[in-house]
Structure formats: structure tokens, C-alpha cells
């Protein structure tokens, strides 16, 4: 690595080296500060996000292989904690939970009364947040807060979520964060987090390079047994980043996203995709930026007590667009079109960025292996499936 370009220097100043045991200590420090730690763990042959008591709960030594409609764990030669990529779950599970009680209503002699349940905010710490998921958290915050706020997180959770970001040491076949310019480095895109880790797990040597980015992150860092990080750390982090980035084979080629879809709403490629799509809604459930919700109004048997629950919903459901005597989007084709044109196209007009972070979860978890990068390629072709003729410069 002889490139001296300052832009190539991944690691910010103030980095330290953290041993494996020091990393375990991080959990103690976070618990001492009152945080509940959420991170990846191994459950039923998959990586899920759940509460962790210690570093032992992490899926050490486990990696994964992912492709369209394929997810498989594999044993690694080393004991890396973060040697896997993304599981089906994303951090929206905790930031915007699947089911929330909005209010209770009571009908009595006195009339109709509404009350919103108050719950004490939880102090959560997320460990192992990848660059693409940092992008997704930022995007969802923008969706929920609108333009008025620059805060990176849901305000109800914002004040308490402590984020420990992790650089990906490997990509899997479904990753395309480089196309979406969201990763793989957590250092490059103006993300907000408290601590950032880069893991180096050899059979002989297992250590981390750690940086702090907030006052409270710094406060936790100071409690850990740290060593200095020298020049070689910079080189190692940069090299790991480059290897990860270069290993990504999938690409999304979408030069002019807002305009691209406007002229292709009736393209024959939609029909071909719809033939395969089951409208099972997996993609929307695993997508870290999908935000659609529905409300469920329930009553008890007496009819006096009612509750309204906010729940995740999906634009793939037939009654999502129900109006009058039917749904606006009856066909699977129209619902897939809605999801893709929104995620990659109209999201720009609504929120000022793409809705896709290149995490690849939708590709892995689609039971029939629909790949949105391939869908875009198909839509980019002329309606008779010829490639668009290449314009000479």
C-alpha cells in the first residue's frame, strides 16, 4: 500500500488498538452505564439482532454465504465476532418496533376518553452496526422527522441509543453498498455513531482498532484498556476497506433515478418480474428503510375498551391501497412496480436520497430470488429486450 492520497486514509485520528479481552470489557462498561446491548446473535441457523449479555453471545467464528433466495451460515477458520454479513433483521426492529400501542380509548357514562400510554425510554446500545445500516437509520430518521430536524435518530430513542459501528471485513454476493455510495466504510459518509470498530481476526491475533466520535463514546473508551494505534493500523484499516469494496460484484446501474422510472411505468419487464413475485412481502420486512405502517383497531368483548396498535405494513398487501370498492393496485405487477419505483425513484423527490442502501437483504430473502439490480438492468433495456445502443462520447 503505497498510495499516499489523503482521501485514501480511512482511519480518523485518535484511533486506539483494543485487544480481544478489552473488547469484552466494552460490554461491562456499557452495562455499567445502564445500557441494554443489542447486537447480532446466532439463533436457528441465522444471524438475528437481539439482546447480548457479553461478547460470548456474539456469533464468533461464524460467516455467511448469501445469494438470491439463499442464506447459509458457514464456519470460519478464525473467531471473528463480525465475520458474517447481514441477517434478515435490521435495526428498525428496535427503533420503530413492529407493533406499538398508540392509544387506548374508553367508552363510559362520562363519554369517550383517549389516553396514550407512557413508557419509560429504554437505554439501548447497538453493537455491530454496518455502514449500510447506518445509512438506513439516517434515512428512516429523515422519513419520520421531515426536513425540520437534522437529528439522526427517532427522537424517542435518540437520546438513549448508543451506537457502535463496525466496518465490514468482508462483503457477500448480495451486497452492493458501493453502488449506492453508502459503504462499506463507516468513516466515509457523515454517519453518526458513538464508537467505531474495525476487527482483525487472525487465527493467531484477534484485535480491534477503535475510534470515539461523541463525548459519551469517549467516556466509555477511556474506561477500556487501550494501546496506541500506529501507522500500520491506518494501512490495515484502509486495506481491509479496499478488499471489501473490491469484492463486491453486484452493481446497481441507475444514473438518473427520478427520471428513469417515469418513462418506464408500462415497460414489459414489469410483467416478467410479476410472473415470479409472490407478493409475500419479505422484501419489505427485511428492508431496513421500508417504513409503511398500518393501524389495527381492536375492542374487548364489552366494546367499551378499544385500542389502536401501530404495526408494520407492506405495499405488497392487496388491501394496502384499498379504496371504495377495491384496491388501486390489484395486480402483483403494479405492487412490485410501486415498491421498486418508490425505493429507487420517487424516494428522491420525497426525502432527498435513494431509499436503497445496497444492503442486499431483499435479494437474499426473496423466496423466488428476485434481484432488484437485475430488474433495473432489464428495465434499462429497450422494450423488446435489446440493449440500449451505446452513445459515443
Amino acid at each position: 500500500m503505497t498510495d499516499e492520497d489523503p482521501g485514501k486514509q480511512m482511519l480518523p485520528s485518535g484511533a486506539h488498538r483494543l485487544s480481544n479481552s478489552g473488547f469484552s470489557n466494552l460490554f461491562n462498561q456499557l452495562h455499567a452505564a445502564g445500557y441494554t446491548i443489542i447486537g447480532p446473535r446466532l439463533e436457528q441457523n441465522a444471524i438475528v439482532l437481539d439482546e447480548l449479555q457479553s461478547a460470548k453471545d456474539l456469533p464468533s467464528g461464524w460467516g455467511d454465504e448469501q445469494e438470491a433466495s439463499t442464506y447459509r451460515l458457514r464456519r470460519r477458520a478464525d473467531q471473528a465476532y463480525f465475520g458474517h454479513n447481514l441477517g434478515a433483521e435490521s435495526w428498525k426492529k428496535f427503533l420503530y418496533p413492529r407493533r406499538q400501542l398508540l392509544w387506548r380509548a374508553q367508552q363510559s357514562g362520562a363519554g369517550l376518553e383517549f389516553e396514550r400510554p407512557v413508557s419509560p425510554p429504554q437505554a439501548l446500545a447497538f453493537i455491530g452496526v454496518r455502514a449500510c445500516d447506518l445509512a438506513a437509520i439516517k434515512i428512516q430518521a429523515r422519513v419520520h422527522q421531515g426536513q425540520e430536524s437534522d437529528q439522526p435518530l427517532n427522537p424517542e430513542v435518540d437520546r438513549s441509543v448508543f451506537i457502535i459501528a463496525v466496518n465490514c471485513a468482508q462483503a457477500t454476493a448480495t451486497c452492493f453498498c458501493t453502488s449506492m455510495t453508502t459503504g462499506p466504510s463507516v468513516y466515509k459518509h457523515g454517519y453518526q455513531y458513538d464508537l467505531a470498530l474495525t476487527e482483525f481476526a487472525d487465527v493467531n491475533d484477534h484485535h480491534f482498532i477503535i475510534t470515539a466520535h461523541t463525548a459519551r463514546g469517549q467516556a466509555v473508551l477511556k474506561q477500556l484498556p487501550l494501546q496506541d494505534a500506529d501507522e500500520s493500523a491506518q494501512l490495515a484499516v484502509t486495506r481491509q476497506h479496499e478488499l471489501t469494496a473490491q469484492s463486491m460484484s453486484r452493481q446497481l446501474d441507475l444514473a438518473n433515478p427520478a427520471e428513469f422510472f417515469k418513462s418506464r411505468l408500462e415497460h414489459p419487464a414489469w410483467e416478467a418480474i410479476a410472473d415470479r413475485c409472490l407478493s409475500c412481502a419479505n422484501c419489505t420486512m427485511v428492508c431496513p428503510t421500508c417504513f409503511c405502517t398500518k393501524v389495527e383497531d381492536t375492542t374487548d368483548l364489552s366494546g367499551d375498551h378499544a385500542e389502536r396498535w401501530l404495526q408494520w405494513d407492506s405495499c405488497f398487501h392487496l388491501d394496502f391501497s384499498h379504496l371504495h370498492g377495491g384496491s388501486v393496485r390489484k395486480s402483483t405487477r403494479s405492487r412490485y412496480r410501486q415498491w421498486l419505483t418508490h425505493k429507487l425513484g420517487t424516494w428522491h423527490e420525497q426525502f432527498g436520497s435513494s431509499g436503497c442502501v445496497g444492503c442486499g437483504r431483499c435479494i437474499a430473502w426473496c423466496p423466488v430470488g428476485i434481484d432488484l439490480t437485475a430488474a433495473v438492468t432489464a428495465l434499462g433495456r429497450l422494450p423488446n429486450n435489446e440493449a440500449v445502443p451505446h452513445e459515443p462520447n
Partner: protein, 160 residues
Amino acid sequence: MNQIEDLICVHPFFAGLGQEFCLFVARCGINQHYAGGQYLAHEGESAEALFLIRKGNIAVETKVPERGAVIIETLNDGDIAGWSWFFPPYLWSFDLHALTNVSVIALNARCLRDKCEDDPRLGYEIAKRLARMMTERLKNTRLRLLDLYKAPPDLPHRGP
């Protein structure tokens, strides 16, 4: 006669026709007044006139068993009534029933048809205007057939 050609020229159906044609056509026309309730035409009878409605409301009507006289369309100031005069067998398809006092220019059908044959330029102008009016009425009839204001069917589904 001068009066008739001026009335023809200002009627929207003949807008842009030119003084020369208005004069030519005026020879077929007379000014008529009908009281509210009177009929200008009956279904099945010989269609003897094209009516230019100057003022008043005319109902295009048909008699339906158990429903009585049903209004299919209401024609107002500036409309024309009648296209059956232009096509054989030249018989009215519907009744024309004055809903209010009505002032019309009645253009004699045979006179008008002869003039159209004599001067194809006039024939073309009239055919264009008739065609346009008919496509408008057909478009509106099709939209009414969609029954857009009807309450939607109450289909079972989850949610309101």
C-alpha cells in the same frame, strides 16, 4: 331574411362559417317559438328540420313503459337539436320536448341537404360540425354509462 342570417351567424353551431354561407343557409330557415310543454319532434316521424336553439331548454325524450317519458339529455341555449335529418331514412329517433318557452331557428332539412349537395364546401362545413357535436354527445353518454356516482360495492376486506 336579413334577420335570420344574422341569427344563424351568431349561433355557436355556425361559428366561423362566414357571411356568405350564413346567407346561403338562411334561405332554409325560419324563426320559431314553442311554448313549454310543446313537442318539436316525435319519434318515428319524418325529420324535417335541424333546430338551432337560441334560447330555452329542450329535452331529448323517449317513452319507456312503466317509467313514462324519460329525459335522455337536456339541450340548452346554443345547442342544436337533431341529426336524423342528415342521414336516411330521415326519421326522428327520439322526441324533442320543450321544457321551457323555446326560440329556435328551424332549418328545413330537404333545403339544407340540397344546398349541401350543391355546394360541397358547405356540405363539408356542416358535416364537420355535426360530427363534432355527435362525438361530444357520444363521449358524454359513455361517461354517463360508467355510472361514476354510483355507490361502490361493499366488498369484504380487512380495514375501513
